[in-house]
Symmetry: C2
Subunit: 464 residues, 2 copies
């Protein structure tokens, strides 16, 4: 426990100009090594943990590199469980680079992606579900995604699966007793099938939350298509305007009414307006080249998860519309726009909206979520405009790894129950039950190999 | 001194997914207000300054918003000189937004750009030259720019100008005595003209460093132009390859061999390859549209600070080249490329290089800097490949504000000296000398109005 590994350092904030940048250091001798570069070194080197010090960070030849604050943390009271230092400098990419160079010169190694969190796991500070939640939290694009990740960070998944695992271990003990005392063998295995069924049900509910979790965390891309003047841009603007909870534009996203990220029922949706696209690619130099824009639209539509095909309700659906819709491979939601101007009946399955007044937009959002989820039955819009599908405990998972292991555990439990029904011998039941216990153990990291850890933490950012 | 103003809060790190995000809080009751949202509140609320605490940041209704570390600083031992708190959360834009909302609900105001630094200035923690250096430091794009900004943050400019100001005040005292005791008036003002000349010289040297400072801090845009097959792309790649000290790509910059930031003699240069531009605008959809690419090249060339016109030494300069060069309005550097293939004499003023072997590239870099500086005499490449032009103290300024005030002070000193030479009365000398003293006082902020501060801090980022 609380091993001291070789010292590592990495930037923990984005390499962009900002007020403050943070560099994280952890491992064997990390306080002493930073002390070689920090002036005044003396109160810092012998200070208690959880104190913060003002001074100058220097290079190895003593030249000032930045004016900084440094916080020190003494094992095991730190994020990693090791001795650690955090350096708060001016938010200058150049400064961060100079500080890192100095740290590497005195003996720090560049941290691998997720290495700080991996050490926290190895030192028993967090389980794997919390480690994954940290990554989700950082990458959450909507407030709903952030809320769900925070629940997992609080131990929601860990608590739920460890409770099931404890029950399964108790059941295993029942089998073990009967294996250990075969002389008492009545030919009939005594095992609480109700408890087994309840365990399966709890895992099933958690596994079922995966679809919602993934949609809320990952999001989908949605393209607006339709004839000129159907009101695509008006609808695009309406979907942007009613959005109150998107947290930030993704890097590279320009809110130029061509492409934007909007929050639809807690799900980050990358929304494209093909009307805007007609000219956007060439806008900076003047005249648009119309054919080029149309070709670009086709590329975007082909790559999308869902197409909103906008119809003008005052004009109806034409053969051209039917032809265009037939060419789209992605799921299509028909939007019957301009209901403020006409009472014409929409075609089958079309969602009546008015991009002008906003009427019908809430229903459209719900439809988008349901089609994105690929299953109108399992998910439903719940409280606060957010989509349902959480487990009764409220915990929602989004990890493909966890979902895979839950599925494996479920299969093993169902095998056990089937064997029990067919009065199979105790050792057969034990094998399946043990596999369920192991699968759940892998979820939290109770059972973990280097390979599992390499895969998991490899997807983290450096500095995490 | 150390006033407590109303509490302010702002993000201090970029709103991008990262390991850690920092939110800065300062002002009256800021510790108590954060305490309303931080669990456990108790050790935190009564802890000494410069301590750091682990816990949960909640919303006003008590729900967890993030797991955080909070550092508290007690006045006057803080960045602003006020009671302050820094919150280190997970680097999630969604989380930062939720935390800020909670902070605003309990009474924090959103901080104006540069407001933390403005308060640091008002509370006497730093002068205006250091405040400007903080902004420069954050925005420095090369290691050289970072180094020069750090010198200014260390007080290089402040020390230099305050020494001059002290000398001028001493000279003012000489005049004042003669004004106060007119009965001793000999008709001749006694004033140390050598000292006056020395003051002017020191200010002049500092003012002269402005050109270099501005180039290193701001940089220039340079376009590669020339006929097809002259070797533009090869030269572009060579300029990228030999670059060892650029600190980061600017936002939006893709190193796709179309546009890149390179460090030329400490100066950040945004380099455009018009050859790459031919197809880049439309690359994502397949075939390039050649005419469009050529039109885009012309737009980029027209907006550039300098054009490198690349000639193929094996082919010489053609009438087409002369025609194209004549059309360029920006300063042009002729590059005589492919010297590895021929010993042909370059045209007048052309720099012979081989983009293949790298021969001549150092000379080309120097020429780029000198032409960018607009003066081959004043600036010269000095130690370590960096361009000279620093004052003897090594301090280099980059602030237009400081340069303007230095120029005003210089003019006033020269007026004073001229009046002295013409034996003008003491009160005439006093007016000019006082203006020089005032101008220097404005540089450090010894003399500052709200208007000056509004202009200066308005260019800062929020959270600084």
């Amino acid at each position: 426990m609380h091993e001291h590994e070789h010292p590592i350092a990495a930037p923990a904030t984005a390499l962009a100009p900002s007020a403050i940048s943070v560099i994280r250091c952890s491992g064997q001798d990390s306080i002493e090594l930073v002390g070689q570069l920090f002036r005044p070194a003396d109160p810092f080197l012998h200070a208690p943990g959880h104190t913060i010090h003002h001074g100058t960070l220097t290079g190895t030849s003593g030249e000032a590199v930045d004016e900084v604050m440094v916080a020190l943390f003494r094992a095991p009271m730190s994020y990693t469980g090791e001795d650690s230092v955090e350096i708060y400098g001016h938010g200058s990419p150049a400064g961060v680079r100079r500080i890192l160079e100095a740290l590497y010169e005195v003996g720090f190694h560049p941290a691998a992606p997720g290495e700080f969190t991996r050490r926290a796991f190895i030192n028993g500070k967090i389980d794997l579900t919390r480690a994954e939640a940290i990554n989700d939290l950082v990458n959450s694009q909507t407030l709903e995604a952030h809320r769900l990740a925070l629940d997992r960070l609080g131990g929601g998944v860990q608590t739920a699966v460890e409770a099931v695992r404890a029950d399964l271990i108790a059941l295993m003990a029942q089998i073990a007793i009967q294996l250990d005392y075969p002389e008492e063998d009545t030919g009939e295995i005594t095992l609480d099938d109700n408890l087994l069924a309840d365990c399966a049900e709890r895992l099933r509910t958690l596994a079922a939350s995966y679809r919602r979790g993934r949609l809320v965390q990952e999001g989908v891309s949605v393209v607006l298509a339709g004839r000129t003047n159907a009101g695509k841009s008006a609808l695009f603007n309406m979907l942007l305007r009613q959005d109150r909870s998107i947290v930030s534009d993704l890097p590279g996203t320009t809110r130029d009414y061509l492409e934007a990220i909007v929050d639809i029922a807690g799900m980050p949706v990358r929304l494209f307006d093909t009307a805007g696209m007609r000219s956007a690619g060439l806008r900076s130099v003047g005249e648009p080249i119309e054919e080029e824009g149309i070709r670009r639209s086709h590329v975007v539509i082909a790559a999308s998860d869902l197409v909103l095909y906008v119809l003008d309700a005052t004009d109806g659906m034409s053969d051209e519309d039917r032809h265009r819709i037939a060419e789209i491979h992605a799921p299509v939601v028909l939007v019957w726009n301009k209901t403020d101007l006409t009472t014409a009946e929409p075609p089958d399955g079309a969602v009546p909206v008015s991009a002008l007044t906003g009427s019908g937009v809430a229903e459209l959002n719900e439809r988008i979520f349901l089609v994105a989820a690929g299953d109108g039955g399992a998910a439903a819009v719940g409280d606060g405009g957010c989509i349902g599908g959480a487990s009764p405990s409220g915990v929602v998972i989004d990890s493909a790894r966890q979902h895979h292991l839950l599925t494996r555990a479920l299969e093993s439990i169902e095998h056990t129950r089937a064997s029990l029904g067919r009065s199979m011998p105790a050792d057969v039941l034990a094998v399946d039950l043990q596999d369920a216990i192991n699968a759940i153990g892998e979820i939290t990291g109770e059972v973990a190999t280097d390979e599992i850890l390499d895969t998991m933490f490899g997807s983290f950012c450096v500095g995490k």
